[in-house]
């Protein structure tokens, strides 16, 4: 089938059920999208686990482990879809260089406290939710669409957990400061997550192939529409507001900006930087990249080394 009639078929709402009869670049594009999603779910496991060590009580720790189990399950679903497309998933997960994982840069910045963890549950999981909901609504790949029903339902609990804990912490004067500090660096990092603005990147292939519905800027707006009111309700400052005239959220800080990952702070005083500079930082990966990926690979690697010995 040529590309045009294939795209036409997708437009009529037909779902693809397997790699047969699909143009090669459809499969490649689907694989790329799935790998980003799978890697993102997977890296959140060690990232969230690290911060969960600071859980204030046993119930909180149990909830965090529940979330971690869900994330690992979601990763497993996405890798299984990749396996069905002929990808060698074992080597993808366990042999890949940490720098080649496709998760967003935000996860390469370590989460160090319960406060940062619950903000991640509210911000990062919201970003994941916005992106996955878009895929759920628009994807042309049937097996993924069906799998996302469960994923999205579980993610709503994560959001609830994050927002509930943010509200608990906001009521404690000391924790409140810590919360604001976490919001300060994590808000802009999540804005960045959605990628290049539409003026710099179109996603014609992804949209034609029904792998994506909305553009980066639209998804960024959707995330802000949930997150900005949440922070305002809790009395937390964020560098964005709703502009009723433009009928959209406006970012109030230099964006994109230079990020000091070691100190978790934005160098807004330098003014906006270019997206090329952002891409450069992303490619260089963040401080926790090696540690977190290492934790995912350690058990598999040890056993393999024992076998080889």
């Amino acid at each position: 089938m040529d590309r045009e009639s294939f795209v036409e078929r997708l437009r009529s709402g037909r779902l693809v059920e397997g790699p047969e009869h699909c143009p090669e670049d459809y499969i490649e594009s689907l694989k790329r999208t799935l790998i980003v999603s799978a890697d993102t779910e997977l890296i959140s496991v060690p990232a969230y686990f690290r911060a969960a060590q600071d859980a204030p009580n046993l119930n909180a720790y149990i909830s965090a482990m529940g979330i971690i189990q869900d994330e690992m399950g979601h990763a497993h679903i996405a890798y299984r879809l990749l396996r069905d497309l002929g990808v060698d998933v074992e080597s993808l997960v366990y042999d890949r260089d940490p720098r080649d994982f496709k998760h967003p840069y935000a996860f390469d910045v370590p989460l160090d406290s319960w406060t940062e963890l619950v903000v991640a549950n509210a911000f990062y999981d919201r970003a994941g939710f916005v992106l996955l909901k878009d895929i759920f609504l628009h994807t042309s790949y049937g097996p993924w669409k069906r799998a996302l029903v469960k994923v999205n339902r579980e993610e709503t609990f994560h959001l609830r957990h994050g927002e509930r804990w943010m509200s608990i912490l906001a009521q404690d004067p000391q924790k409140r400061e810590e919360l604001q500090r976490a919001v300060d660096w994590m808000f802009v990092l999540t804005l960045e997550w959605f990628g290049l603005p539409d003026s710099l990147k179109r996603h014609k292939d992804q949209i034609d192939y029904g792998l994506k519905g909305k553009s980066n800027d639209q998804l960024r707006q959707e995330w802000m529409a949930a997150t900005v009111p949440l922070c305002q309700k809790l009395g937390l400052k964020v560098p964005a507001h709703y502009d009723p005239d433009r009928e959209e959220y406006v970012i109030d800080c230099p964006f994109p900006a230079e990020f000091d990952a070691e100190n978790k702070r934005w160098n807004f005083e330098k003014g906006p930087i270019t997206w090329d500079e952002v891409l450069q930082r992303w490619r260089a990966r963040g401080p926790a990249n090696r540690e977190l990926v290492g934790q995912l690979q350690v058990g598999h690697r040890q056993l393999r080394e024992a076998l080889a010995a």
């Binding site: 997977l42 496991v45 060690p46 686990f49 969960a52 859980a55 204030p56 009580n57 046993l58 119930n59 720790y61 149990i62 482990m65 529940g66 971690i68 189990q69 690992m72 399950g73 990763a75 497993h76 890798y79 997960v93 934790q295 995912l296 690979q297 350690v298 058990g299 598999h300 040890q302 056993l303 024992a306 076998l307 010995a309």
Partner: protein, 260 residues
């Protein structure tokens, strides 16, 4: 409502100790296993391990409040965070993070099964609040047992994996045999006399071995301590256990001899 046994100080002391020992072992087992969720050898094993972690910690969560309701002056604090209490009532194997996955497999197969064996002897306890929780816990443990057995079998599919598990069994099994206590332990006798627990130290140990030893033998793991089935007496026999290093209050193996 607690019955008459609340007047029996010896039984009460032993019961408080038993509850904190069960809860602490569940707590630390859950914490240690949680450290291997991300690094499990496969995603499936990690997902299941995460489910077990929540249940182990959930079991600790429902056991700890019993400490607050027992009318006894010296009750250890329930654990919320790992460093909340210095004195630990858990086996030494769960003291610090495990360096490798086979430790987690050994712990699930040998520690969790020991706790379950103990709980089975508490399901008819005259302490009704405990018996009720135990019923629910045992219901969930059947899945843990199946998972542990599956991990043992999968690890022992290769010679190298079996060797790694062997090393851990050699370390851990002696501590778990000690864990059931010396024969005729005074506190246990008090618990028995009040109908708080069924069986005794030796019966628990035999029941435990009857459960773990056949699996180990089947997958080719050698039993340490010269453990063997005595056909004539229909019981497991072993050489000496290191009782001199047994901490009977915290029910754990210490590195050096313990003054009793």
């Amino acid at each position: 409502m607690p019955g008459d046994w609340t007047e029996n100080d010896a039984a009460l002391a032993a019961l408080v100790n038993l509850v904190v020992v069960l809860a602490d072992n569940k707590y630390y087992l859950g914490r240690r296993l949680s450290e291997w969720v991300a690094g499990a050898p496969s995603l499936e094993e990690g997902v299941s391990a995460a489910a077990i972690v929540q249940e182990e910690l959930g079991h600790a969560r429902v056991l700890y409040p019993l400490l607050e309701e027992l009318p006894f002056p010296h009750r250890p604090q329930p654990l919320e965070r790992e460093q909340d209490r210095q004195r630990r009532y858990a086996v030494s194997y769960v003291d610090s993070p495990w360096p490798a996955w086979p430790h987690a497999v050994a712990a699930l197969a040998l520690i969790d099964t020991a706790i379950t064996t103990m709980l089975e002897h508490l399901s008819g306890s005259s302490y009704e609040a405990l018996a009720r929780r135990v019923g629910r816990i045992l219901h969930e443990e059947s899945f843990h047992m199946a998972y542990a057995e599956g991990r043992v079998r999968s690890l022992c599919e290769t010679e190298a994996g079996r060797r790694l598990l062997q090393e851990q069994v050699d370390v851990l099994l002696p501590e778990m045999l000690l864990w059931f206590g010396p024969p005729g332990e005074a506190g246990v006798e008090a618990l028995r006399s009040e109908g708080l627990v069924a069986g005794d130290n030796e019966a628990w140990r035999q029941s435990y071995l009857g459960r773990v030893a056949p699996l180990l033998l089947e997958v080719g793991v050698r039993l340490p301590l010269g453990l063997q089935w005595d056909l004539a007496h229909r019981r497991w026999e072993w050489a000496e256990l290191p009782w001199e290093r047994w901490n009977r209050l915290q029910r754990r193996l210490e590195k050096a001899a313990v003054r009793q």
